[in-house]
């Protein structure tokens, strides 16, 4: 159960990143200067409302271009966002993650992945390496331009946020539909179906952006901490965690999306979140007392 605070932030982030409302009316996309900037979450830049650029799409665009093999601009942005927030981005700011959470609200039998997901979670790293980096860099056309393989063959966010609205609103695009659209639509339907029964399946097993931020969870400045003095090892945090993380073993697990459900449900109040930059050096009350 997400806290109302997180829900508000998710709604605000989704609306803010897709607030070019003219696009939804005209069947076009925003062409202003804000598109030079990446947004931290997965949000297709071909969504009619999108104001910023998708970092994964941008990364593939630069890698696949003739002039560059690597995007320092996008990688720098990902390092910055990853260090500042880690997977807090997934849990609080990502529009596609939010959509999956809403789908999971639909009443149905639910499958809770725990230890079973330990191997599947590595799939997103393969997607990141293969479809976001290797294919756009090495599979190129006569002009030397690589296609954005992840966006083209996998990304359901592009189909949902960009493909469907544009195809519905734009007749010229509708006439150009082919087998690729059918393939992507099938992937979207699968993602929606799985999202209803599994919590955030795309984020957990496929999302390359989630994979990038997962690498930063251990070094991110935003951290979860367990007070060993208070923790009784009851395991309530792990049972509550929708991502199947064993919080008491590793509060900064790569799979933790910082939803904060474990903090809310811990009967001992042993889990806390904090920002390292703001409390670099903390003295215990005991030491402070003796020091006075």
């Amino acid at each position: 159960m997400a806290s109302w605070k997180r829900r508000c932030v998710q709604i605000a982030a989704t609306i803010t990143s897709n607030s070019y409302f003219n696009g939804f009316v005209e069947g076009s996309i925003y062409r202003g200067n804000l598109k030079k900037v990446c947004i931290p979450g997965l949000n297709c830049y071909s969504c009619p409302g999108a104001l910023g650029s998708c970092p994964i799409g941008s990364l593939q665009a630069v890698i696949g271009s003739i002039n560059y093999n690597l995007s320092l601009y996008v990688l720098g942005f990902l390092i910055l966002a990853g260090t500042l927030m880690g997977r807090l981005v997934c849990g609080w700011l990502c529009p596609f993650g939010f959509i999956q959470e809403l789908l999971h609200k639909i009443p149905s039998p639910k499958i809770k992945f725990g230890a079973k997901a330990t191997q599947l979670k590595y799939l997103k790293y393969i997607v990141l390496a293969g479809f976001v980096v290797i294919l756009p860099a090495f599979v190129v056309n006569e002009a030397g331009i690589g296609a954005p393989a992840f966006c083209k063959y996998i990304c359901p966010a592009g189909t949902l946020e960009g493909g469907l609205p544009l195809v519905l609103l734009n007749e010229s695009l509708r006439s150009a539909l082919g087998p690729l659209f059918v393939w992507k639509l099938a992937l979207l339907v699968l993602t929606i179906a799985f999202s209803i029964i599994i919590f955030r399946p795309f984020c957990r097993f496929i999302c390359p952006l989630g994979a990038v931020y997962a690498l930063f969870n251990a070094v991110s400045l935003y951290r979860f901490e367990i007070d060993a003095g208070k923790c009784t090892g009851c395991g309530e945090c792990s049972r509550t965690c929708p991502m199947g993380v064993k919080v008491c073993e590793n509060p900064n697990d790569p799979e933790c999306i910082r939803c904060g459900d474990c903090i809310e449900h811990c009967p001992q109040n042993a889990i806390s979140s904090h920002y390292v930059l703001m409390e670099r050096s903390v003295l215990s009350p005991e030491i402070t007392k003796h020091n006075e």
Partner: protein
């Protein structure tokens, strides 16, 4: 500072000394995370500036302001 505390007033209290050592370790960990984080932030900023200087933003912008046919499933 922690050494002073131990020597002056807590030298006979083993439990408190252990607690202080635990906090020292936690404090060192926090400092390590802090400095590592700052280094990463600096790396991110430098890389972004270098990317902007190399003209990568133009590529991102030109891709983002045109409908990405691959993204929407047209090819």
């Amino acid at each position: 500072m922690f050494g002073d505390i131990c020597n002056k007033s807590l030298v006979h209290n083993n439990k408190t000394i252990k607690s202080i050592r635990l906090w020292q370790v936690q404090d060192m960990k926090r400092n390590l995370i802090h400095y590592r984080g700052l280094l990463l932030l600096l790396t991110g900023v430098v890389m972004m500036v270098m990317g902007i200087y190399r003209g990568e933003v133009t590529v991102v912008f030109s891709k983002a302001i045109n409908i990405c046919l691959e993204c929407i499933g047209i090819g």
